[in-house]
């Protein structure tokens, strides 16, 4: 288990290079094999993960640029464990469901390189290495959207790149400033996140750096008002691009808040709790309404992603164990459910080459299996009990209830609004007036079933019995809350943290 994280990061990229030797006929099998190996190795992480340990595990550290304090530093805790597993799993599933054939070798190489950067982001514990993977993930995504996308692909790809690149520059600025403060405090250069966790900062400084880094994360999440790139990117991206974007790339933003903002700036996190919650509420309600107004199925799901990311952010900034744990669980749930929904849209797009709701009708009769799976995923997306999303959404809202019952009530409308726009699609497209053109459509084929049935199984399994995943997440969340309490410099921060937490914080009066 020595270098398992390095293996996980670089295996797909190395495999991508070898991929160019294989003819396009077998390249898909090759890619699925590679990602399956990657997935199995990531499962090894789970089985070897010490659930009761709150510290970083599988740590690797190697000095890289010593004179500037940059090291190749990897590690895994309860937060990143399941994000890594979800990443490897969803990459594998999206490749199984891949139907594009144009330039497929380039496509697969891009996806494998993208997998490297995504795993890298989740396991890096050095801020600069984190940033390297964070930025590098833009390049393959730019290519995927721009080369295989819809009619306005160039606009969408460039907008995606410019928006997220500019946002993350602020993140870089915040990182450099934190390193400078660390240098001032200790006389040493270090970009190690665990070192930064020990750094005490005055309140006013925290606010600025929190804001700078927050912009970087907010663009990625994407939080209102920085969300405008997402519908374009989704609207134009090929199916596999949308799946990876919604399932994994967006989670980098919410993970950033957990990894950087909360533990390094506890006082600023408490200070910004309510403003961020208000932004989250706007995301939840406003984008849900926008989703209802869309005529394109894919756009509906894109906007619903923003809405659900709002719940995730709300849960994270409840700053208690339920909220933080719930938001991470919801992040994983959303990854699986939205990934599945985008794949389902891809299935119908492959058959009809349109995504307009008005073009469909009576699909339930022609494609019963498709309608069933779509129905299950849709219900999970809305937050039906006994599905995976319900657990996360419920815990997130429960967490925020301790902060403000009124705001939680508003956030709770996400379930109602979600039901409205989702059921609306379902009524129009799957029941409704049958459209002549749809009468000859074939139901799901073997490949599509292979890609979708495991997702359905997970949605139900983790909805009924969330404990295996929730356990480690819960341990990590409690650890984080405790850590924030002890690190906070302002007494008001400590008071707020005690107030919003139901669990006993060690050492608190």
């Amino acid at each position: 288990m020595e270098h398992i994280l390095s293996f996980l990061i670089f295996f797909p990229a190395v495999a991508a290079a070898f991929g160019f030797m294989i003819s396009s006929k077998s390249i898909r099998s090759y890619a699925i094999t590679i990602t399956a190996i990657e997935f199995l190795v990531s499962l090894l992480l789970w089985s070897n993960f010490d659930m009761s340990n709150m510290r970083m595990q599988f740590v690797e550290q190697l000095p890289l640029i010593e004179s500037f304090g940059i090291s190749y530093y990897l590690g895994l805790d309860g937060f990143s464990l399941f994000l890594v597993i979800m990443t490897t799993f969803m990459t594998m599933m999206s490749l199984i469901g891949l139907t594009d054939t144009k330039n497929i070798k380039n496509m697969i190489a891009s996806v494998l390189v993208l997998e490297m950067t995504m795993v890298g982001v989740f396991v890096s514990l050095d801020a600069i290495i984190f940033y390297v993977f964070w930025e590098l993930s833009l390049v393959p995504m730019l290519y995927i959207i721009g080369a295989w996308g819809g009619p306005r692909k160039l606009y969408a790809a460039v907008k995606f790149f410019l928006y997220t690149f500019t946002g993350s520059l602020f993140l870089l600025l915040g990182m450099l400033y934190t390193a400078y403060l660390f240098h001032q405090a200790t006389g040493q250069w270090s970009f190690s996140i665990t070192d930064w966790h020990l750094l005490q900062m005055p309140f006013s400084t925290q606010l600025w750096i929190f804001a700078a880094m927050g912009i970087g994360f907010a663009v990625k999440v994407p939080m209102f008002p920085f969300h405008t790139w997402l519908p374009y990117a989704h609207g134009q991206a090929p199916t596999i691009g949308s799946v990876i974007l919604a399932a994994i790339l967006l989670k980098m933003g919410s993970y950033g808040f957990l990894r950087f903002s909360l533990p390094i700036f506890p006082d600023a996190s408490v200070y910004f709790m309510i403003p961020i919650a208000i932004i989250a509420l706007i995301m939840i309600v406003y984008t849900a309404m926008v989703a209802f107004a869309q005529k394109d199925i894919k756009q509906v799901i894109a906007y619903s992603s923003v809405s659900h990311m709002g719940v995730i952010i709300l849960g994270t900034f409840a700053l208690n164990a339920e909220g933080i744990g719930g938001s991470l669980y919801l992040a994983i749930a959303h990854g699986i459910v939205s990934g599945a929904l985008f794949m389902l849209v891809g299935v119908i797009y492959d058959r009809r080459h349109t995504k307009m709701i008005s073009e469909f009708g009576g699909l339930a009769k022609v494609m019963p299996m498709y309608a069933t799976i779509f129905g299950i995923m849709m219900m999970s997306s809305v937050g039906l009990p006994l599905t995976i999303s319900f657990v996360g959404e419920f815990l997130s809202l429960l967490g925020f209830y301790q902060v403000s019952p009124v705001m939680t009530a508003i956030a709770g409308t996400s379930i109602i609004l979600g039901a409205i726009y989702m059921l609306n699609i379902y009524r129009e497209a799957f029941f409704g007036v049958p459209n002549e053109k749809n009468s000859v459509l074939k139901d799901l084929n073997g490949r599509e079933l292979t890609a979708l049935v495991p997702l359905v199984a997970i949605v139900i399994w983790l909805g009924v019995y969330p404990k295996p995943v929730l356990g480690p997440i819960d341990t990590a969340s409690k650890g984080l809350v405790n850590f924030m309490y002890h690190k906070a410099v302002a007494p008001e921060t400590k008071a707020t943290l005690v107030e919003v937490n139901t669990i006993q914080i060690k050492g608190a009066q």
């Binding site: 000095p63 890289l64 640029i65 010593e66 004179s67 500037f68 380039n106 600069i128 940033y131 390297v132 930025e135 590098l136 833009l138 390049v139 730019l142 290519y143 721009g146 080369a147 692909k153 160039l154 790809a157 460039v158 790149f161 410019l162 690149f165 500019t166 520059l169 602020f170 870089l172 600025l173 450099l176 400033y177 390193a179 400078y180 240098h183």
Partner: protein, 494 residues
């Protein structure tokens, strides 16, 4: 008249030895040409050998000291800048081995001029005597004007004349500036000027300021600082692509070294002084305006010209900030910029046809690279690597320079400067991305792909491969680079 008696030891000939080697090489090439008309391969080989010997001597001698009647000053920044100049020259020379026949490389003078120019730049950086700096600057510049003109296109002549006129003005301003300092302190040695000024507590503000302004104008031309930048795109466009890349690196690092020495003497990094404010505004204006104009260019070469203006502004901040970290940052940035930018220009060179233009206006418009990924994926990927490095995408070379410079700005409490530098990276990404979008995402124009390899030869490909490798794996070289540069900078007291 009394005879001048001096000991040969006191000359400290070691300090001048590297330059002498290059000059000897230049003369040898001229002599060989007189004897018999030679093949260009010979010139390339000889130039490479002499430059390599020069580089070896610079690194091997590497002892701080003065020499040659104390006009030469070899210190840390002199050594580092000479290494940058010589490495860039080593990469440049083999680019003459093109697939097509270009007239300038048939002349021995081309290579002789080139070696003279290198010696000029070396004198310029290894001295703190304003007169020797001036002589070095003019020697190098005159040779460079001729090199540009030798490309022998209509645009090249225009470029050479434009550069010459501008350069002549700049030389005048340099003389004026030196005059002011001489009048004020009675010395033309920057070290002495600094001592005298400090002893007087920087009185006679007005004259110091006039001197500083003249110098900013003079160096501003060489460094293409806004508003003295307007010649840059035209000259780069007229010059051959490798020479344009070379001009974006070597004359500038020489200019920066002079600027570092000069503005250190003027204590320009002391906040609140007029000189500080002037430099602050120049740096910000240069990086921002360069970036904004680059956004709307149609020709890749002009885009790269404006981008190099912006990069100049970016490192000019090092002089504004002052201090060891910023000054080392300047050299680290420029060392990494060398490989990236020379690589990018070499990519244009490899696709250059000697007589045919791509369209009426440009040799290398963006449209030429449409759909390049389909015809030559490897070349497109290498070009994309150079573009992403210029944009500062990690983990490519310039990213490390960028974070080191922004870090230096933050560490010296220049927060606004750091934010402006950051925002400029955000603007710059757009035009670098534009080329990538053309290469990877647009459909191919009607061509069979041979257009990208007009000039292809093994040496050219080797140079490109080498530059790309350095750019990609720079992460492993940054630590030794930072350590060695910082220690020599600190040793020379900046």
């Amino acid at each position: 008249m009394e005879p001048i008696v001096f000991d040969i030891e006191a000359l400290n000939l070691n300090t001048i030895l590297p330059m002498l080697i290059t000059l000897a090489g230049a003369l040898l090439i001229l002599i060989l040409d007189l004897v018999k008309k030679q093949d260009k391969g010979l010139y390339v080989a000889l130039s490479t050998l002499f430059i390599a010997a020069d580089l070896y001597l610079v690194i091997a001698i590497n002892e701080a000291g003065r020499g040659f009647f104390d006009v030469l000053l070899v210190d840390g920044i002199a050594v580092i800048s000479q290494v940058i100049i010589l490495v860039a020259s080593l990469l440049f020379i083999p680019l003459a081995l093109t697939g097509h026949r270009f007239k300038e490389f048939q002349f021995a003078e081309h290579f002789a001029f080139f070696l003279f120019m290198i010696a000029g730049f070396q004198f310029m950086v290894a001295s703190d005597n304003l007169i020797l700096i001036f002589i070095g600057l003019e020697t190098a510049s005159l040779a460079l004007y001729a090199l540009i003109a030798m490309h022998n296109r209509q645009k090249s002549l225009e470029a050479a004349i434009k550069y010459f006129t501008m350069g002549a003005f700049a030389a005048g301003f340099f003389a004026f500036g030196s005059l002011m300092f001489y009048g004020l302190t009675g010395s033309i040695e920057l070290g002495t000027i600094k001592e005298v000024l400090e002893a007087n507590g920087y009185e006679n503000q007005l004259i110091i300021l006039m001197g500083a302004v003249f110098m900013i104008v003079a160096l501003g031309f060489k460094l293409s600082i806004v508003p003295f930048h307007s010649w840059t795109p035209d000259v780069y466009e007229g010059a051959s692509a490798p020479l344009a890349g070379y001009m974006s690196i070597v004359p500038k690092i020489a200019g920066f070294v002079v600027a570092i020495r000069l503005f250190d003497a003027l204590a320009a990094s002391a906040e609140g002084t007029v000189v500080y404010t002037l430099l602050w505004i120049s740096a910000v204006a240069t990086m921002t305006i360069g970036n904004i104009i680059a956004l709307v260019q149609d020709g890749v070469k002009r885009m790269l010209a404006y981008s190099s203006i912006s990069h100049s502004g970016f490192v000019l901040t090092a002089i504004v900030i002052g201090g060891t970290q910023a000054t080392s940052g300047l050299f680290i940035y420029w060392g990494l910029f060398l490989f990236t930018n020379l690589g990018a220009f070499a990519m244009l060179w490899i696709s250059r046809h000697p007589s045919k233009q791509w369209d009426i206006r440009y040799n290398h418009p963006f449209t030429k690279f449409s759909g390049m990924i389909k015809h030559s994926p490897l070349a497109a990927i290498i070009m994309a690597i150079f573009m992403l490095s210029l944009a500062g995408i990690p983990p490519l070379a310039l990213y490390w320079g960028k974070i080191y410079m922004i870090g230096a700005a933050i560490n010296s409490d220049h927060l606004y400067l750091a934010i402006i530098m950051t925002l400029n990276s955000g603007i710059a990404i757009y035009y670098y991305l534009k080329l990538i979008v053309y290469m990877f995402l647009k459909d191919s124009v009607d061509n069979d792909g041979t257009v990208y390899f007009q000039n292809e030869t093994i040496p050219l490909k080797l140079i490109l491969g080498f530059a790309a490798t350095v750019v990609v794996f720079s992460i492993f070289g940054v630590d030794p680079l930072i350590t060695s540069v910082t220690s020599s900078i600190a040793a020379s007291g900046f």
